[in-house]
């Protein structure tokens, strides 16, 4: 390619209604994150957005294609899944890796096997485990909250997120979990706003209720079993669901249409497995949170699920 035949595509952004709706649903969470963790988290979101768009533009403009709106969703979800005090350059590395390797190398929008946001997060999680597990800050309180703060310092006592606190057997208040006055990743803390976004998405049909519902079902199922099996060690289902990024993942990541399965039974199995695996990983693995890994693992099974479901359908048709 020479510079002379390089032309910007007619439309720089290709608007996709479903993807934009996910963005609208994410806006309250971004605002809440500023209240809880200060302006730094907002700039983390903006930085990820800029570099996510740039990465996609580098690949897409070369082929005279527009930048898809899906990149907004990917970048925002990616940044909301980070701890609030993560160094900026790590977020940049993560989003570039996620978009380039998780999406563009597979052929761009609609062709990616893995969720690009999760690929990026996984990359920096594996690369910088210390920063990713310690850059938490305790949430702000009061009327203005974080609106007049840049960030809140990482302090050793409140460093633990509810998930690690649960592991240590500390008590947390249920209402804090629900409203989001807890430490954790930027966007995962407020169950209320996530549910609000989820209701909006499902009402507007931008997210599949099957995926979200089955994921929730899987999580509830597994956590009830495990809680009944050892009630002293393992927290009750309601804590399991409200803490960490389980809800955030259920509403915004599992329902991502591209890397999820297309067939209805496939969607049920996929969601249920993601939910169940998340709880299993939380309880039995060395990592406090499991939703990122369970989504990536199940993403790998999506083509198989869709193919098998198609074959079963064809067999049934052949018989009747």
């Amino acid at each position: 390619m020479t510079a002379s035949n390089f032309r910007l595509p007619k439309k720089i952004f290709q608007m996709q209604v479903a993807m934009l709706r996910v963005c609208y649903a994410l806006i309250p969470i971004v605002v809440a994150s500023v209240y809880l963790f200060g302006w730094r988290s907002f700039f983390l979101v903006i930085t990820s957005l800029i570099f996510g768009i740039l990465t996609e533009a580098v690949f897409n403009f070369k082929n005279n294609k527009s930048v898809t709106s899906a990149i907004f969703v990917t970048s925002i979800i990616f940044s909301l899944s980070l701890p609030p005090n993560l160094p900026f350059w790590m977020a940049i590395v993560g989003i570039i890796f996620g978009v380039a390797f998780g999406k563009m190398l597979f052929g761009g929008f609609g062709k990616n096997i893995f969720n690009p946001a999760m690929v990026g997060r996984c990359f920096i999680y594996v690369s910088f485990p210390i920063e990713m597990a310690s850059a938490w800050s305790s949430p702000a309180r009061g009327v203005f909250g974080g609106f007049n703060h840049w960030s809140f310092s990482v302090d050793a006592i409140s460093m633990a997120t509810p998930l690690s606190a649960l592991r240590n057997g500390d008590a947390i208040f249920l209402e804090d979990l629900f409203w989001g006055n807890i430490s954790g990743s930027i966007g995962e803390t407020s169950a209320f706003l996530i549910l609000l976004g989820g209701i909006y998405l499902i009402y507007k049909k931008a997210a599949s209720w099957r995926l979200a519902g089955s994921c929730l079902l899987g999580g509830v199922f597994l956590s009830i079993i495990l809680h009944v099996a050892s009630p002293l060690k393992i927290a009750s289902p309601i804590y399991m669901l409200l803490s960490g990024s389980f809800l955030f993942g259920t509403i915004f990541i599992v329902t991502e249409p591209i890397s999820g399965p297309k067939s209805k039974p496939g969607q049920w199995i996929y969601g249920f497995m993601v939910g169940g695996l998340t709880i299993t990983l939380r309880v039995f693995s060395n990592f406090p949170e499991g939703i990122m890994f369970s989504i990536l693992i199940m993403n790998a099974f999506v083509p198989l699920l869709d193919k098998t479901m198609g074959q079963i359908k064809a067999m049934k048709k052949g018989k009747s």
């Binding site: 790590m90 390797f101 990359f123 594996v126 690369s127 910088f128 485990p129 920063e131």
Partner: protein, 197 residues
């Protein structure tokens, strides 16, 4: 087929450089290249086996019945792998410990078997030596390069020395298995870009 001995040697360095062009022998390429030292050590061990097995296969090519040739190749290769293993235990014990199971695995490295089958079995002694040497040096260079990239990015060190200073945040990802795949893929991509021009 009228290639000179020099050409037989140099083809293994660029045109048919094993891990990148033939995509052969990937197991050690991905497995041991966490540091440049490991990569080069592994490459040299493989080069030794390659040259020696090529020599012996080439000498014996008239005597080995075609039907049982693979078994014969394996016996020849396994002999030299055992030699390498014992030599490394005697003279390079720390490296031997680091490379571990990958040394006996040279026996099943398809690069070694591939050169015996595809080249040494059909060619005379001198070209076979040149071929084995070229392939081996190419293999060593690739492993060294991959090892260097992964070592620098993954630990911030190069041959045990710090490159970026203490403030560097190492990409732990790069020294793990997925880092090897990503790095190899990027190097392949780079070689194809250069090669297609």
């Amino acid at each position: 087929m009228a290639k000179t001995v020099t050409q037989e040697f140099t083809k293994g360095l660029w045109e048919e450089i094993a891990p990148f062009r033939l995509v052969l022998g990937l197991c050690p390429v991905l497995g041991v290249t966490t540091t440049m030292e490991n990569g080069i050590g592994m490459g040299l061990a493989t080069t030794f086996v390659l040259v020696c097995s090529n020599i012996l296969v080439s000498i014996l090519r008239k005597f080995i019945p075609a039907k049982v040739r693979i078994a014969c190749f394996i016996v020849i290769i396994a002999t030299f792998v055992t030699v390498v293993e014992l030599l490394m235990q005697a003279f390079a014990y720390p490296l031997f410990l680091k490379l571990g199971v990958f040394i006996p695995l040279i026996v099943v490295n398809c690069l070694v078997l591939g050169r015996a089958e595809a080249f040494a079995f059909k060619n005379k002694l001198i070209p076979s030596v040149a071929d084995g040497l070229g392939m081996g040096v190419g293999f060593t260079l690739s492993l060294g390069a991959l090892g260097a990239v992964r070592e620098i990015l993954g630990t911030g060190m190069f041959l045990g020395m710090s490159v970026f200073g203490a403030s560097y945040e190492p990409f732990a990802f790069m020294v793990q298995a997925p880092g090897a795949f990503v790095c190899l893929g990027l190097m392949l991509c780079g070689m194809n870009i250069i090669g297609s021009k």
